[in-house]
């Protein structure tokens, strides 16, 4: 026997049990916000924002391309590379961050402690998704700011150089100079580019929702990441594949069926590439942007519900 003070071993003593707790709301946005905020903190403290530095380096490097092209052409190239890179960063981040978060919570058993509090599983999933989307939104805004700075500085440099050259040659009327400068400004910083950033956000949001769905049943983060990227590529080839295979009569039934199945099951990511047109300088059609926003919301709701369908009964 130990020589400690004797532990209390008497039969169940009559102590006063504690009173019942407060009522719990069935669904609480507060709980969703708490999980979202913690996801943001987690991603921030994982130092994920360091990728912005890499992005800034790419954009600054591209901004200093020294190619024999017109100022308008050079600006257009800077824009395309910068916005293209922004798009890649956004969807890649959406996949990696989402694929890491939920399996990590399961592996670390953090999920046990969260789900043993009065938290609904839908609140947990929604919180995680909102957190990832929040970080993507902030990153996109930061990347856009970097791009805008580079594009604007190059644009003003080109405009003033062109203006001085044209004035010095004394061969052009004011209207002709204006016409020439507007050619450059057309490829410079315009408000429409903000819509291109929004387009990248729409795409990244859908990618994140699909990845959450995958991670509710995938066995590892690596599997989720690989499958998400694969789906992303296939989701872009959608229309190309169907127009190529479905109209070729010599293709057999099996191939046609496969293409149809892929079309039905995999999101059509190609639609979300409408930022490319905007970056090229095409006019933005507001109604289409709204409808794409609606489609994005549709994808988010459906994939969240699908995730819940798998997750709600999942045993840990």
């Amino acid at each position: 026997m130990s020589d400690d003070p004797p532990p209390s071993t008497e039969a169940t003593p009559r102590r006063t049990p504690r009173a019942a707790g407060k009522a719990v709301p069935i669904f609480s946005l507060g709980r969703v916000a708490t999980i979202a905020a913690s996801t943001v903190t987690q991603l921030v403290r994982m130092k994920t924002f360091y990728f912005l530095l890499a992005f800034a380096l790419v954009v600054v490097a591209v901004g200093n391309f020294n190619i024999p092209a017109t100022p308008a052409k050079e600006l257009s190239m800077i824009k395309k590379v910068a916005f293209g890179t922004m798009d890649i960063f956004a969807w890649l981040f959406a996949i990696v961050a989402t694929a890491l978060l939920i399996p990590k919570d399961v592996e670390d058993r953090t999920l046990y402690t969260i789900l043993s509090k009065p938290v609904r599983r839908v609140e947990y999933l929604l919180g995680k998704l909102c957190g990832v989307l929040g970080v993507i939104a902030v990153s996109l805004v930061a990347m856009y700011a970097i791009c805008a700075l580079v594009i604007y500085s190059r644009e003003s440099l080109f405009v003033s150089a062109e203006y001085e050259a044209m004035v010095a040659s004394a061969q052009y009327t004011a209207a002709e100079i204006e016409e020439q400068l507007s050619l450059i400004q057309q490829q410079g910083l315009r408000a429409e580019l903000g819509i291109a950033v929004l387009a990248s956000f729409f795409k990244a949001a859908v990618v994140a929702a699909v990845t959450i769905f995958l991670s509710t049943f995938a066995s590892s983060s690596l599997f989720t990441i690989i499958v998400s990227i694969l789906l992303f590529l296939i989701g872009h080839a959608h229309h190309m594949a169907s127009s190529f295979w479905l109209h070729e009569s010599e293709n057999n039934m099996a191939v046609q069926m496969l293409v149809k199945v892929i079309k039905i099951l995999i999101p059509n990511y190609q639609l979300f590439s409408f930022s490319e047109g905007i970056v090229q300088g095409e006019a933005v059609v507001a109604a289409l942007v709204w409808q794409m926003g609606g489609l994005t919301a549709g994808y988010l709701v459906v994939f969240l519900l699908l995730s819940l369908l798998v997750f709600v009964d999942k045993e840990f």
């Binding site: 020589d3 407060k22 609480s28 969260i114 045993e315």
Partner: protein
């Protein structure tokens, strides 16, 4: 509402590992109850079904048959979980959060906010003696500290029932002792404690009632006295006894028919107690 904190009735849980055809019965027709205000220990070797039972009570798993209720509410009910504080075995919380942030996170999940939450965090940090490490990230916590912040987390919303899964697994004897003392304190404050362990000595020290689980079935259940007393044996511990007195007692025992001296020797301290004494002396010497 029921008087029982936990009521498990005919609980059966079956697993099918991978795609194999055979089934593994983790819990087999298990029934028991944890009364409000008591410390109940479920003991058994690894793989006896303790954790599975706990997960069903917590709503993390569904039973194949039978039911589990918490204060009369179905264990899957979100309201039931508001009454439960849970500390998993070897808890890993978000390493990027500090001790205080961890408590704030779980407090907010329980709908707490503002001053009330702040006060509760301070109170719990004091209870688990982690005020000094409140702003340190959990990545730098020792196992014992993690276990204590885990315990504080489980108490954040002032639940009526605290469920502890192997609360001292992997913790050194000093940390283990601190947790044991905390459990006793919780009991005195009116919490119902339901714990799972395979460390029998620890269970013996804190539990009012114990259930012994083996291969998914309840083998014995009752108060500690009922379970461990050997009815026909008596032990005495005598201080400063002279050899003459001992000889006298031995003669006395021999003179009674049917009586036999089973064991005799010097009292020994347990290795755990010895370790704790040394550690405490060392600490006092330092301060």
């Amino acid at each position: 509402m029921s008087d029982n904190a936990v009521e498990v009735k005919n609980l059966t849980k079956v697993f099918r590992p991978g795609l194999k055809k055979e089934y593994v019965v983790a819990v087999d027709n298990l029934s028991f109850e944890v009364r409000a205000g008591e410390v109940y220990g479920l003991i058994g070797p690894n793989g006896s079904g303790k954790s599975t039972t706990m997960k069903v009570v917590l709503g993390l798993m569904a039973a194949n048959k039978g039911s589990a209720k918490v204060f009369g509410l179905d264990s899957g009910d979100i309201r039931a979980r508001n009454e439960i504080g849970f500390l998993p075995e070897n808890p890993y919380f978000y390493k990027h959060l500090s001790g205080a942030e961890t408590l704030r996170f779980y407090g907010k999940l329980c709908g707490m906010k503002g001053r009330a939450l702040q006060d509760r965090i301070a109170e719990l940090l004091q209870l688990v003696e982690l005020e000094g490490a409140a702003n340190r990230r959990l990545g730098g916590y020792s196992k014992g500290m993690l276990q204590r912040i885990g315990l504080a987390q489980s108490l954040i919303q002032n639940p009526r029932l605290v469920i502890l899964d192997e609360p001292t697994a992997g913790v050194d004897p000093v940390g283990s002792r601190q947790i044991r003392d905390l459990i006793l304190r919780l009991r005195d404050e009116g919490y119902t404690v339901f714990l799972c362990s395979h460390l029998l000595e620890q269970v013996q020290e804190v539990c009012d009632r114990v259930g012994i689980l083996f291969e998914g079935r309840m083998r014995r259940e009752g108060t500690l006295d009922e379970l461990i007393a050997i009815e026909n044996q008596t032990s005495m511990t005598i201080e400063n006894a002279s050899p003459e007195l001992i000889a006298e007692i031995q003669n006395l025992v021999r003179s009674h028919e049917g009586t036999r001296l089973v064991e005799e020797g010097h009292s020994r301290t347990s290795l755990e107690s010895l370790f704790i004494q040394i550690a405490e002396r060392g600490r006092e010497g330092k301060s």
